[in-house]
Symmetry: C2
Subunit: 309 residues, 2 copies
């Protein structure tokens, strides 16, 4: 049995990662401030500490635990919201990382895994984002996540194995349908369920690389088994380009009623096209995405329709 600290256990990704580890029989401690997460999401069996990961006192209180790995998944996770309160974004996404890296160092934890983001790339000339590209973030969210990655590189030189997973557009059942500023597919489905009308902010020709939550959990799971002498940055993506219009078509295909789609102006810091190269994940983590967008969206539609009735 291993012991893991997984931050953000009340959120979409954190709760799924914790469930996975608990199912495997491991001990999990989680911290969450419940700002966007729901306490009901925290899987049974996890030890829950309510607090901010950017609060030094909260992190210090964990000093007596011996973790086999720290998985830092908590954080303000919307590029759009980062424009409303950039300072909070910096604290929750960057200062928190520094404190947790320091905890790893002082408590002798040798494995640190971070939920980073494709927002680090920003607008690029190349079609497929790969890890060797020079980052060019265009949202406060992307800037803070990039700084965290740089900090991990320094801590790697202190002897902690650090891995940054750059998550692309994560989606799936369990996503917060009440949050209309985070998660393109869940926003669309929440709107469909509420009114039968989907408002799209930005062009339907924009494209994304949608990666299913089950595949993301597998990536985190692969990371705790990995040790490397070098700091690693790894895209977690499918390598498949899906336009917003294609997403809307798939939703309509599985949705029982006719939906109305409205196109509005875009949001600040939104990238036009995002698709990743996942060669590094395949090689380093022996990881492959298993859920296609069509299968993923259709199962998510069923989940939304089920939670509606």
């Amino acid at each position: 049995m291993a012991s893991y600290l997984v931050t953000g256990g009340a959120g979409f990704i954190g709760s799924k990662v914790i469930s996975h580890f608990i199912d495997l029989g491991h001990e999990v401690i989680t911290i969450d401030n419940l700002t966007t997460g729901d306490v009901a999401n925290i899987p049974k069996g996890a030890i829950f500490i309510k607090g901010d990961c950017h609060n030094a006192k909260v992190i210090k209180s964990l000093g007596s635990f011996k973790f086999d790995a720290i998985l830092h998944i908590a954080g303000q996770s919307s590029g759009e919201i980062s424009f409303e309160d950039p300072v909070y974004d910096l604290q929750t996404n960057t200062q928190s990382t520094l404190l947790l890296l320091d905890l790893a160092l002082k408590s002798g934890c040798k494995n640190f895994i971070y939920a980073s983001t494709m927002s680090i790339y920003g607008d690029q000339d190349e079609a497929y984002f790969d890890e060797k590209m020079a980052p060019s973030p265009i949202s406060f969210y992307g800037v803070g996540k990039l700084a965290s990655e740089h900090y991990m590189k320094i801590y790697q030189s202190f002897g902690i194995s650090c891995t940054s997973l750059r998550l692309f557009n994560v989606y799936g059942p369990g996503q917060n349908l009440k949050n209309l500023k985070q998660g393109m597919i869940s926003i669309f489905l929440a709107m469909a369920a509420a009114s039968g009308e989907i408002s799209v902010r930005g062009s339907g020709l924009r494209y994304r690389d949608f990666v299913h939550i089950d595949d993301v959990v597998n990536a985190f799971s692969a990371c705790v088994r990995l040790r490397d002498s070098e700091y690693r940055v790894i895209n977690i993506c499918t390598g498949v380009k899906t336009t917003i219009n294609e997403v809307l078509s798939i939703i309509q295909k599985y949705w029982p009623e006719r939906l109305v789609v409205d196109f509005l102006n875009g949001t600040p810091g939104d990238q036009f096209g995002v698709v990743g190269n996942n060669t590094v994940a395949k090689e380093k983590l022996n990881w492959e995405p298993e859920v296609t967008v069509e299968n993923g969206i259709s199962s998510m539609v069923n989940w939304v329709l089920g939670s509606r009735s």
Copy 2:
């Protein structure tokens, strides 16, 4: 008469920049927390507010002023010390920038100038650092300054003219001789004055690009006269490579007594070789360094000897 907010007025660079503006007849407001700066350094005529630039309340209290430019020079400025308290470094160098950029936006200030650093480059394969290189910071200090630059790029898109001056090794009379973790030449001279013995941490073959404080003040002064529709990053350096051994020779040449030099182990996050390309500064700011290292060090030796007697 223009009105400027210059942060860090009790520090080496901030105080010299303020003197320059006051001599020209401008109004200057400064904020300093006096952590490393000395209140005696704040030039007469400047309005002084004691406080942290990363404290939202302090920055909010400035909302009634109308600044023609904000020059953000305050901050923890030692790469070495950033390893002792990375969180403080992030707050003072990055969170402060966010708050001041927000102040610029809300108060209608259209010109923001930032004291950035060559530490952003980190270790590079190329000999001469230029602004187009992909940053690779290896100290917490460099990471936080780079995040600030990314934030400025976003605020430029909000209509604020933002300029980041990447300062290389700034030196000159007025540097804090009591701070033995900041400023290579001032550290050497402080040691010489105290004991006649200079301890060098790291190889004498390391090299730096030493830029005199008078030239740095001229660069800040040129920035307030400049407006540009694009975010600008500008190296402030001489383009001249000077080894540590050469610095020691010049000091010895002008020092009245024989000095003893000891070579010790290096410090974390220290770059081996640093020299910059200043083409952009020449073109954009019409700026040229005027003080040679030999002249600069000899006048600084005189200043140190004067303050010793």
